[in-house]
Subunit: 481 residues, 4 copies
Amino acid sequence: MEQIFEEQNFSEDKLHEECGVFGIFSHNEDVALNTYWGLYALQHRGQESTGIVVTDGERMKIKKGMGLVADVFKDGVADLQGYAAIGHVRYSTTGASMPYNIQPLKVYFDGGNLALSHNGNLTNAGQLRANLAKEGAVFNTTVDSEVVLTLIAYSARPTIEERVAEAVNQIKGAFAILLMTDNKIIAVRDPYGFRPLVLGKMENGWCVASESCAFDLVGAELVRDVKPGEMIIIDSDNSEPRSMMWAENKPAKPAHCIFEYVYFARNDSIIDNQSVYDARIQMGRELAKETPDIHPDIVISVPDSGTPAAIGYAMEAGVPFLEGLTKNRYVGRTFIQPTQKQRANAVRLKLNPVRSVVEGKSVVMVDDSIVRGTTSGKIVKLLKEAGAREVHVCISSPPVTDSCYYGIDTSERKELIAARCTENEICRYIGADSLHYISMDGMKRAIDKIDPEGLCCACFSAKYPDNADSVIKAEPESIIE
Amino acid sequence: MEQIFEEQNFSEDKLHEECGVFGIFSHNEDVALNTYWGLYALQHRGQESTGIVVTDGERMKIKKGMGLVADVFKDGVADLQGYAAIGHVRYSTTGASMPYNIQPLKVYFDGGNLALSHNGNLTNAGQLRANLAKEGAVFNTTVDSEVVLTLIAYSARPTIEERVAEAVNQIKGAFAILLMTDNKIIAVRDPYGFRPLVLGKMENGWCVASESCAFDLVGAELVRDVKPGEMIIIDSDNSEPRSMMWAENKPAKPAHCIFEYVYFARNDSIIDNQSVYDARIQMGRELAKETPDIHPDIVISVPDSGTPAAIGYAMEAGVPFLEGLTKNRYVGRTFIQPTQKQRANAVRLKLNPVRSVVEGKSVVMVDDSIVRGTTSGKIVKLLKEAGAREVHVCISSPPVTDSCYYGIDTSERKELIAARCTENEICRYIGADSLHYISMDGMKRAIDKIDPEGLCCACFSAKYPDNADSVIKAEPESIIE
Amino acid sequence: MEQIFEEQNFSEDKLHEECGVFGIFSHNEDVALNTYWGLYALQHRGQESTGIVVTDGERMKIKKGMGLVADVFKDGVADLQGYAAIGHVRYSTTGASMPYNIQPLKVYFDGGNLALSHNGNLTNAGQLRANLAKEGAVFNTTVDSEVVLTLIAYSARPTIEERVAEAVNQIKGAFAILLMTDNKIIAVRDPYGFRPLVLGKMENGWCVASESCAFDLVGAELVRDVKPGEMIIIDSDNSEPRSMMWAENKPAKPAHCIFEYVYFARNDSIIDNQSVYDARIQMGRELAKETPDIHPDIVISVPDSGTPAAIGYAMEAGVPFLEGLTKNRYVGRTFIQPTQKQRANAVRLKLNPVRSVVEGKSVVMVDDSIVRGTTSGKIVKLLKEAGAREVHVCISSPPVTDSCYYGIDTSERKELIAARCTENEICRYIGADSLHYISMDGMKRAIDKIDPEGLCCACFSAKYPDNADSVIKAEPESIIE
Amino acid sequence: MEQIFEEQNFSEDKLHEECGVFGIFSHNEDVALNTYWGLYALQHRGQESTGIVVTDGERMKIKKGMGLVADVFKDGVADLQGYAAIGHVRYSTTGASMPYNIQPLKVYFDGGNLALSHNGNLTNAGQLRANLAKEGAVFNTTVDSEVVLTLIAYSARPTIEERVAEAVNQIKGAFAILLMTDNKIIAVRDPYGFRPLVLGKMENGWCVASESCAFDLVGAELVRDVKPGEMIIIDSDNSEPRSMMWAENKPAKPAHCIFEYVYFARNDSIIDNQSVYDARIQMGRELAKETPDIHPDIVISVPDSGTPAAIGYAMEAGVPFLEGLTKNRYVGRTFIQPTQKQRANAVRLKLNPVRSVVEGKSVVMVDDSIVRGTTSGKIVKLLKEAGAREVHVCISSPPVTDSCYYGIDTSERKELIAARCTENEICRYIGADSLHYISMDGMKRAIDKIDPEGLCCACFSAKYPDNADSVIKAEPESIIE
């Protein structure tokens, strides 16, 4: 009897972040070890591959591999000695993810060694790559980010900072980039500030990271966000890093990715001055305010990502929050598929209802988003089978209707259920008694520390801040596989 | 620079269950695959090793290994064909856990093949082993359970059921045992019912498991608990399993392990008629009732095991439950230890406070138990550093003061902080503003479906239902390593 | 396109030894390390699995696994400390070789720990196993050798030496057994001396091994062979080991396995006083004397096992020996099968002719044996394609016509080509210009240090010294899988 | 007790080839599978890493890794479909060999995909790399060969053939290069023909390889050598490949590496029209002629590489060739080091004398070369301990006194014993009764199919055909790590 193995089918109904970055400059710390810890804290931003590169001023050493931080570096990082390091964790959307695409990238150019970690997505990489190839450039990877390295190498400006500025002024899209030369770290954030990037201070040194939760683990203090369109140069343990506003065309408003607050970032991070957890609790409250007609007995969440909003909802609605679904903490990436008979309930592998909690109850089930809709229906079915009288599904983000070009894997637009179906249709599809998405305004209100005009909500609205959709359509066919 | 790796240091402050068992008899199901799923659902009961043995009436095939179910069986179980199977997951207390100790055990005896899965601990294994050795028996493992197999083989009774009955009447201690011969499964529970064992019905077959959560995954219906002192014989898909009350000396009351409700069992299990989740919520409520003098702003939990009681506490106290600690879901078994400087906060690897939640607040932090006390203090420190004004630690079980001889790894008695210190001393040691353990009565009240006299609370009270402590002391030196 | 992998198909045309054993007793040596080296030298006797068990007088530690010595112990043996050790390398005939069958076996009995390494094959194991099972014994493996351990445990004699003697007097067949208790090593050889076993002296200690080549590597001096029917007890570094002739029924003549000299043993070993290499050279000479009508231009061998006899043949015949076949030294156990088109020449993976050597020549190709005949024909074809004018195949052993019951894997009798075909038929089958097997007398003459009556040639003659064939037929069906 | 592991210390006394290449173009064959087999046959040219890249005209797929061919491709090559493929096996001199240096290399340039396999060593790579970096090029590896790819990409010539020609006219040193574009394979050999490269014909396709032994395995016929300074373009299954003599500065004579005949190439290969095995037998004969004063009883070899010359010597001298040293066929790359006491004889792990062969004899021991001299002395000692009366060491190559810049790892010149010591000193150092190196003329005479002026003997004479030594000294400091 042949058996079928499934890979991670439960996560297919989530959007995926593509990367996390971490960098540190210090003569008094073990920079590789701190990068290891920083990446450990950022592991939720990418589980496919990871790497660390370190410089001692003369040589760069690199170690990278497919898998989790704890696995790739299971033999330690003691061989990576130096005074500056950058690292990367990566999520990739395809099974064809190849080892040579693992970041950080590292090359030799006429300025010495140069390493790069990138979170985001470039929208004009194909065009730039084609142009550079015409001038003789060769490319080793299928990673957009390699273009940035070549642009820097091709720049004729006198200093590395100016070469970087010239390079990043040519690229479009979303980027939080860490560059490392033989003796400095340069952090660059795109003019819209799509992806987060924060600066931290250690006792004797500096660090930069995608999220502030990484600072807590290495004992650094959050100083501030790197500003949209800013370049920060770190080449001294104690002097304040230098800053350069490099963007020749700065937009009027930033466009911070709102999905960081909905799902990606960790509860304990503060990005662009906004506590992520506060935003999530608040989204739940807004959702409750927007659904006054539901009178549930209890509020439950789809753990773990739906929990903060569920708690917020319960607080606002004045009903108990209970754990109606038990999560199996030992679910691995692959497993043998249940038999056909069991198939309908495969989601049980990860989530199982607690009958005594839901039986006979009118339940509000809070989740952060519905992407393809494949999982929500299965969970509703489980709850009903466990005796729930009513299941009202409340989602703490609006319907995801459009592709993201800024570093989130939204899959094909046609795979987004909300791009194809009305809310009523989705409600029927998932078998819920009612379905409620938070309003765009409600969601923005929940993120009260950020100007509502300064958020990118393109995946809900197709309003691409930099018209990326038209750029993408104009991109020539990639010359590469 | 040498680096130090740590293994799982965060779990050292918990008691550990030693095993989970699953068995199935069916000519219409893929028994190995269902056992795989059953063990998957029982993975929380043991992560060190696992195995499955299957019979087709003539041959027994076995597959086992060190590691998680998903890893050991990563190539599938398609080669394990038959109509009955038993499996096992095991936690072991020592690094010296050897592959030959992995269960199920399988031997050949004059009745054919015989396999065994055991959850529990025998208190007279050394004595029995010595006696059997004098009669010529050899032993291959250091597992107590091997004695059971030899006792069965030495029995001169005519049927396998009688041989098993004779054997188990000689053993003392805690046991939920699954035996499999070439054509039947026999499930046996000790006369006190220390460890759980439940019977389930499938469409065409029967299964037995340590917890009912395993039935949900394989699509079986919970029929009832195997009774203390009962043997259940399954040798037909559809006929009701036969039952035999085998215990020659049946105690007046059972002694169900109360720690299953405190920590071991999964929220979604029902054992001995009691919903585990209900008991935990109730423990939180009792705890709140017992601490009327605390007036917290919020209630937080040490996730995940402290969460149900925290929610119960918050409900009873009428204050919000919030996730004040973020759990890193990607923490592996081993990792590089943080540098000395970071050492104090190593627990941050797993848990990081959410500053915006706790800052300036008076916090009740609920956890299920304190064993060695090594972790609690670190968490309180993190919360204080994150700005918590007051931290009141509330524990949903009484102080663990005594060793368990019934299948729980309580470590040495001297390592139990409550065996050495008063509550006040522990409170000072962990740096809390106050420390409160639930009362024994409160805990028992929370388990409202079970007669309070029918629970084993020996680890809190040293009242060993079967005087195991004196038996253990009388045990001769083991003849084995 | 699906690809087919083959496992070791080139060795299928050889007989296979089943084991090698090594033991050492010394308070001044690292006994585990020396056992490692001893097994390394005996690796040719078994490549499937290996293990080492060591005692320090109180505890026995064991390490074993599937694979080569260098792989199984790739992390060293530093954790195996003690003053005596035994080890084992094993070849197994079936793919179903299970980890729990790996030797040494180790059990606990009423005399403490007991470990065993066995080279050979018992012919009455099934009967003994059935009898023991009736008395309550359980068995963990499918290894014959486990019976020996149980027989010892069941013996009521007062000393371990007497218990061993009682046990081995009950077993029939071929055995060179090393036993280790908590404080001594006992070496036992069967009354016929089928399998080799030699005693060596170290500066401060003693060792025993299947072949003397193991002594060269550990720096021991070959003292003598363990005699057929002898037991040697080693429990002191310096005192002469004690000897006991234990066999109640000693045959008139020994029956040393002649195939050790033909193929199994290493060139550099001396067993039962006979240099293996000398015997092989001499076999080649005898073969040349027996084939005066061939007038070859050159003599080549099927490397490596055919080479000594080929050199002997060339010396006697007065023609050059040349390496007409190049052996690929990097052939692994598994590989992707060549395409159908290439299939006929799959043997090229391992052996490729040197055209300039064989082109236009009349070639004598010497090999040590033909078992199934699957490979010989392919090699002859390669030589012809490379231009050889004539290929005369000369075999330094007689036709293998009968099964071995003494520890050699001769496969099924029906798979032995010489059991089914005449020499002429085989010659045509392999496409040779002529085929010559050495005569039985010639082969025995080549082994000039051993009484020709003291050799077992049953695989060529069906004359089983102990009538094993009738015993085997009388064996009851095994009770086990 | 800590244990020390050694890696392959026995091979440290040999020169090392750095690579083997294989390429195939065919619409009727499984090109990846044939490349797998070709590399299998070339495994002796490099055991550290291997890779295969295949094109189907649109996409290139690549698979590579550290280790042997059988290990890296243990899951097969079925996913590598296409009609052309190139592969590589690599030996590397340093432990720091990094995965990103594994060949084939593959890049994207303005002509599409481009892959490269290189055997040899460039002497002006540093200078070229520096020049290219000034023009904006970035480099991903520390492999010289990457420069070739960038030179091709920077070429402005109209066709790929011309771009390749322009590129290879700029590089100096030794190279046999296979390039693959999306639809053709281009094979290039340097103007001196340092490294071998042969062209083969299949039924429906063509292949190129470092040695002809690879053709035997894939069923191809050796057509001819690629000429020094020639480029061969294969873009059709059946049409004759096109040829272009590209070298603008063609030397008067080729300079084929003589060490291929001494040691590197396989016995069964024919390169530059010379049978490797014939040359080796002949070297032995020449050596015998040059040492008429030795009157040995027997000739033995250091297996396996010394065997052909030993056989040749024995034939010429009219004394028997015998296997005086037994080689352990199971020696792996790493092993636990013997204890101090055993240390002197660590070489026994691999080679053990056959006492009965050498005892009391005057022995000629033939080896192919002495590099560092670390092993020879140990072997002589073993032979003396085994009773050899006299040991005369005869070497089938002259003293290795100088570094190679053409793709052989000769280590530092100072590590070459013959660069520091006279023959008499070496003889005393290794403890031989006499030591004889073949004369340069004798060695060249043995290679009778090649003009003696057309051989590179620089490692024996420091006569670098292209003055590589001065080039190397003039090379600027590498800009890379």
